[in-house]
Symmetry: C6
Subunit: 220 residues, 6 copies
């Protein structure tokens, strides 16, 4: 069973995008909730996360803790990859999805459900490139999604069929503040939130060059 | 040995439903108790839970902690899958059963024992679809249960034999507050509890569409 | 070596009953002690407990913490399966034995050593059925034990040889308060303790039906 | 290399006895020290302890924490099996050795080094039987030890060669207070310590019968 | 995908250098951020670090905690090896990279992005030798990096092609304060930071001799 | 690469000695640093320590915590086996090396770098025998070390080539205070430190006899 929501707004729910097998994309929602903790607050993520996905959540938590400051020391941050299935979640491409769901839940500002997104994150808020962008965009388009956020560094990877080109708007971003600018719904609250996020994380890099590409290394 | 209770009311006890093997359902009760903790409060679940079942309990705990607010920081929440046997509990389809048992124990409001239930939960209170609904309904009917709560998203999956159709009432739900509305017994306390739960969790989704189904993905 | 004690009273010591291999019972004592903790209080059980036995201790601890309220937040509760041997303890049939030993140690009320017992427990104090009742009863009778407490739900399973029938009294119970009523020794203290335990745990079930039996499921 | 000390007194050092392989005993010293803790106090045992040996230390710690009451909440109790070698320590027969070493260190009362000992312990101070008593006694005698403490329940197992009979005194005991009575050196402090230990642990059993022996069970 | 940044300044971002396979170097950036902690502050490193890399972070944390004193007891220090890929990070040669990224984030002083570095660290601030220096230097040169920091003890290992010799400046260092002297950007703040770091760590060794080399031992 | 330092003084750095393979010794330095902790203070050792080496550090920590009393409850004690290589550190023969490095770092008193050492430790400060003494001494001599501290119990094991005999001074010791007497540099501080250490640890044994030797047992 797969429930797709592609209209209206929802607090703490974001349409993520994932790759299945070699060449198939899927809409994979993430939900978040903030609850009082019993001991010291924790970040609790479910969806049978593998190591790289767990670490993506740790990286996202740096931004969340900085954003919400002292307010979460007695709060648990719950993150749920919904309807994931047996294999569990791997990889770090849901990082911006997780960050958006948690910030929406913290601030109680709805997320636009006609938006889907994919992107990795640095601990300082930079949106980093991911794999499978084309398959993900097609899956989102098939599900009736209108806008798709992707990393700016993946812009040149987009090669979608003409039929989808008019159906969906592709929005390349390079910082988490741009993601929230697009995905959040409520107007004046959203703007002040985005400004606050920008001032807190700063920009790690004022200028950035894309150098020679390559496969990912296993450094020693 | 299997004890079935299908009449009267009991605090902290709920008739859950599970699937055994390929095509057989079973009534699987969940019991809950709240006790003072020794260190910081914990949620302690027994029944040899596998990873997906442990995570279902983590998701349910988001709702419970939010519902009971600060009151449980020095309390342990005990959840027991009773008479489970060697293999242990897997999957997330007992999520609404666990939530109902714990809220009954916290509030000391009895649960109707002629009700059985199956359903997954989001961290924000949405009831999500599960597998094996037909087998579970038949098992409940055979055990003398009168009312069976299932996820609204599973409504079209129900294909039970005519002999059971008159015996049991099927109640599709889409939010945890509807589950408690049906399953709890005491009258005025129940209503205020359900109202409080609604106001706390809100509705993640104001409108919802069921999109194209599919097998569960292992996203990357 | 096996030490059997079947006379007099002892604080914090209870004669449990276990099954060895296919068809042999044995008296397996449990001892308990309460000590000041170094950090937050803990429940510490020894006897190389397997997963199901560890979880039985967790379930019992719900009753103990509720019974003793705040008093144990800086106390360690030590539970020792004595003379267990290499294989360690498995299963949950010593739950009432553990509960009785700990409550005796907490309250410093002696346990009658001519009593042996077997029974699982719910977190709310219900005594649940176990396996091997007949073999356990015969082992207790051979060891000179006079009274044997078993779960009421196992009453129909008792098929002991005539020679033991006159030797031992079988006492079926359905709640932990009945176990203590039989097993504790000191008179006025015992009665108020049993009353307190009844009022704290309540009765989860006012009426109970035994439905169709079956093998234990591995639900999903 | 093996250092044997069999004369004089030493604080926090006790000559234990162990079995190697099938039929060979050895003197295996245990040393203890009490130090201020960094976080909450802990019991830290070294010597590559296997599960049963770790649990024996947990059982001993019940007696130690009760004996020293609140004083150890900010203290680490260090227990060292000295010169153990690759295989590590298994079994629970060093329980009285560990208890004696720690109580000597806590109270700064020397232990007689011409004494060696073997014995398991209940959490309430009962000395329980162990294996290999004869081999252990011969090893102690060969090392020049004068007095050997064994569990009373092992008294009938002693079958030592005549040449050792005159060399060593065998002292059967049934409670930890008797062990300290024999092993500690300083006079008036020792007596008040033994009295205190007796009053704290009480006697779990006023009368005790040794029933039919048997191999150790693996109960279920 | 690989993003290379080789110009300007960035807070909390440092160009590290790693070896891939036998004979290939790569620029591997490290990013750091400081956030309020939920419980006691932690050092959290991501990039699927193997044991030696985890321990390198522990060693670096000694310097960081000493440098920042009490200020980080309620702060989490996030360290991210960016774009690492499947195999994860091993070895300790990113120690100076990690230390520089964290100190930049703590002090909010930018790091020069035309600098890359490789070097192990002692807990007292000594820069220790690493492997693959030549391959690393060539990779940095190819990426447009201008200055490369290496351990002084590796100075004799540098054998780079003539074409790179004019392109890059090799800077051998023996203490972490020299690394920061080169890599940090902001002028007066940097100088006082470097002075403070020198005074805190001292010099473990006033004079040092390089003795007979050899392969790394596995001591016993 | 291997850096040998054999002259001058250094705070928190000690030349240890280890055995590689069957018949080869090596100088293996240990460094220590004390830093403010984030949560409760910890002892953190790096060098891929195997179980016996981890436990050696636990035993040494008993002496360190006792020596420094309450002062380290909010301090982390970092211990680093430098330049260890892939296999990691095993065994307990670096115990006196670790103790010396930590006490030097705590007290900020330099360690003489022309001294190397090997020796195990009891939790009460006794220096216990180790293996490979002859190979270790030769390795130290080859590295230009002048003085080598060994356990008194290993005195009869020293069989070094004549060429080294005049080069190095062998110093047998039986207590940690003697190690510091030889290895520390600063004069008046050192003496009061050694006195304090003697008074704190006392002597576990006033007289000691070396009994019949034997291989290390795996006691049960
Ligand atoms: Ca998980
Ligand atoms: Ca649409
Ligand atoms: Ca469990
Ligand atoms: Ca009915
Ligand atoms: Ca255990
Ligand atoms: Ca009798
Ligand atoms: Ca250990
Ligand atoms: Ca003698
Ligand atoms: Ca990690
Ligand atoms: Ca350049
Ligand atoms: Ca380690
Ligand atoms: Ca020299």
């Amino acid at each position: 069973y797969e429930l797709t929501v592609n209209e209206g707004g929802a607090v703490g729910r974001v349409n993520g995008l994932a790759v299945m097998g070699e060449d198939s994309g899927i809409v994979l929602p993430v939900m978040a909730e903030i609850a009082p903790s019993q001991g010291p607050g924790q970040v609790i993520a479910t969806g049978q996360l593998k190591e790289m996905a767990e670490e993506a959540v740790e990286n996202v938590s740096a931004i969340i803790k900085k954003f919400s400051d002292q307010d979460i020391s007695e709060k648990d941050i719950h993150i749920q990859f919904v309807q994931v299935g047996e294999g569990g979640v791997d990889g770090d491409s849901a990082s911006i999805t997780v960050a958006t769901a948690v910030i929406s839940a913290l601030e109680e500002i709805p997320v636009e459900q006609n938006v889907a997104m994919t992107g990795s994150l640095s601990v300082r808020g930079d949106v980093l490139p991911v794999g499978g962008v084309t398959h993900k965009i097609e899956a989102a388009a098939k599900s009736g999604i209108d806008k798709i956020i992707i990393p700016k560094a993946n812009e040149q990877d987009v090669m979608i069929e003409p039929e989808y080109e008019e159906q969906v708007e592709i929005i390349p971003v390079s910082h988490i503040s741009e993601v929230l600018e697009v995905a959040l719904a409520g107007e004046p609250e959203k703007d002040s939130l985005v400004d606050r996020l920008k001032s807190i994380t700063g920009r790690a890099l004022e200028q950035r060059e894309v150098g020679a590409g390559g496969t990912n290394p296993s450094p020693q």
